[in-house]
């Protein structure tokens, strides 16, 4: 496949007390339309990615809401939900609609507004991505990923300091990203001293609660970018699922859905993992990035943690750079927007427009977006 990206837009991520979901979406969409030199009425359909609008905001029906808010003049619109993979899934569905020839130019937007609620409400709402057995046991997401971390530590000797190295790297990248929630860098010591959330995961191993929106406009191959911007195409879009809860997994040291989606994506794009220059992966917790590195074939099982600690995926290392935006940990994780922001970041990198956080000469990029504790995974590959 070859699906050109016509425009991208991302808002600042963070505690955006002054901005409602409608305002955030309008900001991101305006940026994307401007980038694409289009009007909203040029778009044929709108896909909306979001997880928590119903549970936290009492508002469902987001397709209609945003089609109305954007004054799209009766365009078809849909809400796509898959927990934290909502963004990636919305792009996947948009890609399919274009490949099917039903729509020509499609707007995909992701929005999440979380910070108006207290931590207990948010933790409970996020557990709607887990299994009912897990909810009944009282566990929350840090606990689920703590189980995965412990399994990885026991099988491969992964250390807490190595997990902390993920956060250090991502905060460094975010310090170069003006839209990132956190602009300050962290040290291993600060992370190791931060309070325990769910052993072995500490506060600074966990991505934050964030508000934010992101938008992307894709089209069928007819529509090329203007000559002033480098064309970037989506060349693979894959989804895979696994058991809803951890109890159903065969191996807790891998997210099989990510492995399956990743390997299908490489096949679709006709490339190997070693061809990826830049990747945005789903580091909801530091261990998640280590799992992603191995599931996507960038490092063999048990080797990623050490490699990351040595700087093997840091900006400027000369090879693969992972999470140049700062990832979920440091750029922020407004759930529905994340998957779309990841692809927008890859587009920016492949257009050579990432400024201080540019991965030099990046030609092929990958976005990895996971829902729940690995129940669903979406992988996109893009080329310039």
């Amino acid at each position: 496949m070859k699906i050109p990206v016509l425009g991208i837009g991302v808002t600042k991520f963070g505690e955006l007390w002054d901005y409602s979901p409608r305002v955030l979406v309008k900001q991101a969409v305006a940026e994307a339309l401007n980038d694409a030199r289009l009007k909203i009425t040029d778009v044929d359909a709108i896909f909306v990615a979001n997880m928590l609008s119903g549970i936290l905001g009492n508002q469902e029906n987001l397709g209609a809401l945003f089609a109305d808010e954007l004054k799209s003049a009766n365009k078809p619109a849909f809400k796509i939900e898959g927990a934290c993979a909502s963004g990636g899934l919305a792009i996947h569905n948009a890609v399919n609609s274009v490949l099917a020839g039903v729509y020509e130019k499609v707007l995909v937007l992701g929005i999440e507004k979380m910070t108006d609620h207290n931590p207990a409400e948010i933790a409970q709402a996020l557990m709607s991505a887990g299994h009912d057995e897990e909810r009944a046991s009282g566990i929350s997401f840090p606990g689920l990923y703590a189980i995965l971390a412990r399994a990885h530590m026991e099988k491969y000797g992964t250390k807490e300091e190595e997990m902390a190295a993920v956060a250090v790297k991502n905060h460094y990248h975010a310090s170069l990203n003006p839209k990132a929630q956190f602009q300050t860098q962290l040290t291993i010591e600060q992370i190791m001293k931060s309070s325990c959330v769910a052993d072995p995961l500490k506060l600074l191993d966990c991505s934050p609660v964030s508000d934010g929106a992101a938008a992307i406009i894709i089209s069928n191959i007819k529509y090329q970018r203007s000559k002033t911007k480098r064309t970037v195409n989506i060349v693979a879009s894959t989804v895979a699922t696994d058991s809803l809860g951890l109890r159903g997994r065969k191996d807790l040291t891998t997210l099989k859905a990510a492995m399956v989606a990743g390997s299908k994506a490489y096949q679709q794009a006709k490339i190997k993992s070693s061809h990826i220059d830049v990747a945005e992966v789903h580091d909801c917790f530091t261990i998640a990035e280590i799992l992603a590195m191995e599931d996507l074939g960038f490092f063999s099982k048990g080797k990623a943690a050490r490699a990351i600690t040595r700087g093997a995926t840091k900006l400027g290392n000369g090879g693969l750079v992972v999470n140049p935006s700062g990832g979920l940990k440091a750029c922020g994780h407004p759930v529905g927007a994340t998957g779309i922001k990841q692809v927008c970041e890859i587009v920016t990198q492949l257009r050579n427009e990432a400024g201080e956080r540019q991965v030099k000469g990046a030609k092929i990029g990958l976005a990895h977006n996971v829902g729940g504790s690995g129940a669903v995974a979406v992988v996109h590959i893009l080329k310039n």
Binding site: W17, D116, S195
Partner: protein, 348 residues
Amino acid sequence: MLKNVGIIGFGSYIPYYRITIAEIAKVWRKNPLDIEKALGISEKAVVGFDEDTVTMATEAASNALLMASLPASRIQALYIGSESHPYAVNPSSTIVAEVLGVGRHYMAADLEFACKAGTAGVQMISGLLEAGIINYGLAIGADSSQAKPHDVLEYTAGAGAAAFLLGRNRKDFLVEIIDFASYSSDTPDFWRRDGIPYPTHAGRFTGEPAYFTHVQEAAQSLLKKTNLRPADFSYAVFHMPNAKFPCEVAKRLGFTCEQIEPSLVVRQIGNPYSASSLLGLNAVLEIAKPGQLIFLTSYGSGAGADSFILKTSKLLPGLRKKVPAISDWLKNKQYIDYPEYLKLTRKI
């Protein structure tokens, strides 16, 4: 700029009992050092079983009258600000006035605006004095607020009272109130519905959009109005929900740690809500020299901030010795354990 408003007596009261942050943290299996560091508080004051806003207000007010050597019958207005008035309907102000011996021909009202009800009272009495409608008025901030067990507020919700007797005769001024400015908005960061025992707060929303926005705006507008800079002041006092917020806002406005440190009673008594910034002011007035400028900004959730510029007079050092000082209340303490705390705050 005001011409006819000054403090002619002031008084404070901090209850006897203290519970340490460590004692509370132990109950909830938290690391006490983490919490002490995060809040900058080591212990907080707790009311005795027979104390409340009214009893503490009366103690503080008696001290203010004593300092001024003024018979209570001369008071023409009494406003008491609190978020823990004993009654939803029935004035605390008249109970206090009755005990003090204020008489009958006076204006009175109870005020509420979260932690800034006391300073609102100061503004109201200032208006009456400036206009020559009264000669003496008493503004009190007092609280014995409840905090929900296991909530973060449990570490900080303290108790205390501060009273300021204000007059319009320059000869009597211990401290001149030079000017004030306020900033208010509908920002629901912290609230308590009628009939509900514990307040609810919006977590991190109580920071930037609430405390910092309102304190900074009120402070900056007053500084601009009076053409003064932070360096012109000997001391600055800010509302103290913990020790971190006032230090941060002071820094942002251009004040130094040295200017605000003497006011930080929060470290040892927690946050006595309507009495917080006023007790901080008391602490500063107990060490200030004549002719010094003091900057005071309170904050009340919901939200608003009242900013004041004060100047000390030659009379201050002599008269302040007549009543117990903050340093005396701080030394006068007994530690209690968590079960005792639950009993005294009527949770069990």
